[in-house]
């Protein structure tokens, strides 16, 4: 990483609602230009954390800075420094492309002198230069999505929050979208993503897995996968459902994947152990292969262990 400048720095960030501790003493540093992801089940504290980082919710305790603004004292100023795009594109469907851009430039007080340049930038990025008069709802999904991104960052914020930005989007469009996100991060924008989906998480430089208000794991996608204490065995066998029952009776969390089973085991577990176990019940194993755990495997197992 060339950019070492810190853009988000929080210490002991906590939010309490009544007797419910939604976020508990979170410490976090995010550098300029990072694409940083928050993952975790519902109720884990992701969105409460994001709301505090956006200046929408005041923390109950703890302190921090976002884009040079104090989280406790400068919450209004934070909102000017950030952009936010939710999974439901916040565009006005009945307005034209240009009218949407004008509207958001008004909301974010883009200075008059900058307006023309910013509008052209959004049109260029969204690939809509030739279609500026088109009614937004008539545009293909991929273009609408990029227009929504453009409107969310038309005021050139230094930090951009994305909430499940590409869930359900055509894979070709999704890759193009993340290409743009990578360019933004290359230009020094910091991107913070919240998502449930590992295919979005894979695009992040670093990930924080939240569970019960705390950060349960933090690292690059590769670090999380390689640092995982389990590996996943892909097993092909006859009588697959008997195999599934046998493994479940030994408290192995086997899951059905097509015509194979995926079984998380402690790293280095001899495969012969599994083969012998199954054979004891008359189930023949045809193939065993250790496959790299997916991020989903890592997260599901981390959280299930803590329960």
């Amino acid at each position: 990483m060339r950019e070492q400048e810190t853009v988000v720095e929080v210490r002991g960030l906590t939010k309490v609602f009544g007797d419910f501790v939604a976020v508990s003493r979170v410490d976090l540093t995010i550098r300029r230009g990072e694409i940083f992801g928050f993952l975790g089940p519902n109720g884990a504290g992701k969105s409460t954390t994001i709301k505090m980082l956006c200046g929408i919710l005041p923390p109950s305790s703890g302190e921090g800075m976002v884009a040079g603004c104090d989280l406790l004292k400068e919450r209004v100023e934070i909102k000017r420094q950030i952009g936010y795009m939710s999974q439901r594109f916040s565009l006005y469907e009945e307005l034209s492309v240009e009218e949407n851009i004008d509207f958001f430039m008004g909301v974010y007080n883009v200075p008059r002198a900058r307006k023309r340049e910013r509008k052209e930038w959004v049109l260029e990025m969204a690939g809509l230069k030739e279609r500026r008069k088109a009614v937004t709802k008539m545009l293909p999904q991929g273009h609408r999505q990029r227009l929504a991104l453009g409107c969310a960052i038309v005021h050139e914020p230094s930090v951009v929050f994305l909430d499940e930005p590409t869930s359900g989007v055509d894979p070709v469009m999704r890759r193009r979208f993340w290409g743009i996100i990578n360019e933004l991060s290359n230009e020094g924008k910091t991107i913070i993503v919240t998502t449930h989906y590992l295919d979005e998480a894979e695009y992040c430089n670093r990930l924080a897995l939240m569970h019960e208000g705390k950060i349960a794991a933090l690292g690059t996608p590769s670090e999380l996968k390689h640092g995982h204490k389990e590996e996943v065995l892909e097993i092909e066998l006859d009588r697959i459902f008997e195999g599934l029952s046998v493994l479940a009776s030994r408290a192995l969390a086997a899951s059905l994947f097509g015509r194979t089973l995926h079984v998380p085991v402690k790293r280095g577990t001899p495969t012969s152990e599994i083969i012998e176990l199954l054979r004891g019940y008359g189930v023949e194993v045809r193939r065993v292969e250790s496959i790299p755990p997916s991020l989903e495997d890592v997260f599901v197992s981390l959280i299930e262990k803590r329960r």
Partner: protein, 306 residues
């Protein structure tokens, strides 16, 4: 009778106000399969499932569930299938138990067996401890499981699920797939749709759907083998520079940055050497370079482009 065909659509099409949702689509699902329709929003997944459930008539073509035609005998179809739409009709003001009882009556489950069946389905869905809780107070994952339990009240042999994992957190999703495995074990045939390509790996067979058609119908493992797609992974601190250097080269179809890794889809695996020397000349020293299994997303994109 593993090869018995339970669901069949023959060249079905359907359009809405001039927009084609499903075009000339054929599908055969055999008994005991977990068939996945995988594709982005707007690909036509919901329309296909609704036609196969006898809820929506196709503009052309014909579909069957077991021996029954969706055009001629939609009522018979409803008796043998369980259908879970994206928003399952739970009564928010009723408790978990009351919702189950409501669906039991709707499907005419005999009084003698009703209690036992409701109990066993609540157990199956992991909701026994929440019987008295109002549906509106359930988490997204629990609502989804209650919906599934309600769909199963009349013991259908065929289950059609429209995006059951959409918007559900990873733990609840893993849990739902386990429940589906339990049902497969009991011989239920399942058709499920999902926008998440990685979930295709959990299905016995998959139709990759795009713009109203199937790009490919195959077992997930075979899909990757059929499409000869060399994907070179370059691990490098600064992945974006890798893309700047080689992303535009001829024979590189895709260059995608994933954090500290870059995936390059190559026209031919021999291009690896060309990539390596080009990076070397640019002074980029990758930590690792290796061919990886293409993801189903890679497969989807390469098919959608061609």
């Amino acid at each position: 009778m593993e090869d018995e065909i339970v669901l069949r659509a023959c060249r079905i099409s359907r359009s809405f106000e001039g927009i084609t949702a499903v075009q000339d689509l054929s599908i055969e699902v055999r008994k005991g399969e977990l068939f996945g329709i995988v594709g982005p929003d707007g690909a036509g997944k919901t329309t296909t499932i609704r036609i196969l459930s006898g809820i929506l008539t196709p503009s052309s073509g014909e579909a069957f569930v077991g021996p029954f035609s969706v055009l001629k005998e939609p009522e018979r179809i409803k008796e043998i299938i369980g259908y879970m739409p994206q928003r399952f009709g739970l009564y928010e003001d009723l408790s978990v138990l009351e919702n189950m009882e409501f669906y039991a009556e709707l499907y005419g489950v005999p009084r003698q067996t009703k209690k036992e069946r409701v109990e066993s389905l609540l157990e199956f869905a992991g909701l026994s401890a929440f019987k008295r809780r109002l549906a509106r107070d359930l988490s997204g994952g629990m609502k989804q499981k209650l919906g599934l339990a309600c769909c199963l009240i009349h013991r259908p042999k065929v289950l059609l699920l429209d995006e059951p994992t959409c918007g559900v957190d990873p733990l609840s999703r893993a849990e739902l797939w386990r429940r589906l495995a339990d049902l497969l074990k009991e011989g239920v045939t399942i058709l499920v749709s999902t926008p998440y390509i990685d979930e295709a790996e959990r299905c016995t067979r998959v139709g990759l759907m795009h713009k109203g058609r199937f790009l490919l119908v195959e077992e997930p493992e075979k899909m990757k083998a059929i499409i000869d797609l060399p994907v070179l992974e370059v691990v490098c601190e600064d992945g974006r520079r890798v893309v700047q250097e080689v992303g535009w080269m001829e024979g590189i179809w895709e260059a995608t940055v994933y954090g500290d890794r870059v995936h390059l889809t190559l026209a031919s695996s021999e291009l690896r050497e060309v990539v390596a020397s080009r990076l070397d000349r640019a002074g980029i020293r990758p930590n690792a370079m290796r061919f990886v299994r293409p993801s189903l997303e890679d497969v989807f994109i390469s098919l959608a482009r061609s």
